[in-house]
Symmetry: C2
Subunit: 189 residues, 2 copies
């Protein structure tokens, strides 16, 4: 889905290898153990190739997020017309991912990266809660259920849902199906 940058084909190949290596290492080892050296070795490129395009590991993670390489749930928010059922299914899938050790480590790694790099924070919010994801789905659903009238604060509802998910990841408190129902009741009445 990424368009090739200007430059020779070989550069785009290296760029993809670097992004893929970053996504894999982030999920396997966590943000603290992610190094430019480790990414270079896994991608089969020299460190200088990485530094030609990015100034820090945070910048690479931000680009991974933009290209949908680290958050599996991206764009897969269902749209059957029943907003509560769709959100329930999507949040259960995210909660299932978080209930697995590697899923929890990945989200905590992304949060740690976001705490350090502004661009990671912005893209994490966009990818999970933004108009192409949750808030867009909510916007299209306004007027279809009593508790989501036209003009409802869809961005804030999206931020509240995703924020609650992040807080659960930070406190290692898995979201059970009953918690998801209550969370949806908290924002959709």
């Amino acid at each position: 889905m990424a368009l090739p940058r200007s430059g020779p084909v070989r550069s785009e190949h290296a760029r993809r290898a670097i992004l893929q290596a970053t996504a894999t290492l982030l999920a396997e080892r966590g943000y603290d153990h992610l190094t430019i050296e480790g990414i270079a070795a896994a991608a089969g490129v020299g460190k200088q190739t990485i530094y030609r395009w990015w100034s820090s590991k945070g910048d690479i993670i931000a680009e991974c997020l933009l290209e949908g390489m680290v958050v599996p749930g991206r764009g897969e928010l269902p749209d059957t017309g029943d907003i509560r059922a769709d959100l329930t299914r999507w949040l259960r899938d995210l909660a299932d991912m978080l209930a697995r050790d590697e899923g929890e480590l990945l989200l905590r790694s992304l949060i740690a990266a976001a705490a350090e790099h502004v661009e990671v924070g912005r893209r994490l919010r966009d990818v999970l809660a933004g108009p192409e994801s949750l808030s867009g789905r909510l916007e299209r659903a306004t007027g279809t259920v009593p508790n989501l009238p036209r003009g409802a604060p869809v961005e804030e509802i999206a931020e509240a849902l995703i924020g609650a998910l992040l807080l659960r990841a930070l406190s290692r408190s898995p979201l059970q199906p009953a918690d998801i129902d209550r969370l949806l009741r908290a924002v959709l009445g």
Copy 2:
């Protein structure tokens, strides 16, 4: 407010100095630049004194949180009987803190610490959203406004509000008064 631990008075004095130094350095320099060496120097104790009581900087931050030394808003949630007005005032105070560079750095530092240390994550959630803070205030308010009936999911409402705040801090998007009104509309209707 902390009770002295068992042991001589001098130990409690050193313990308080270490916690205070940690809180100050965390707010001034951020989590990444916080080291046991730096805490020891600022507190005027040896590193071994610190390692006698704590195994990592995350453990010290967790204890700071427990003693109310790093989150200024702790316990200051007003209770005038008007839940929406009280939450508006409290969230505006928190947003004002976040709008200042040092406040934003402090919250991002706590989030980074929480991403790494489970105990920091749990206490951050308790301090900001727990029964002695936000969810307790919400629980007492159930039944006083139409959108917060008895049995309302107060824990999830609290997590949604605090989670949204964390997500704003991570994406460096200050909460304006109008955003706070919309956020409260998202969870209180």
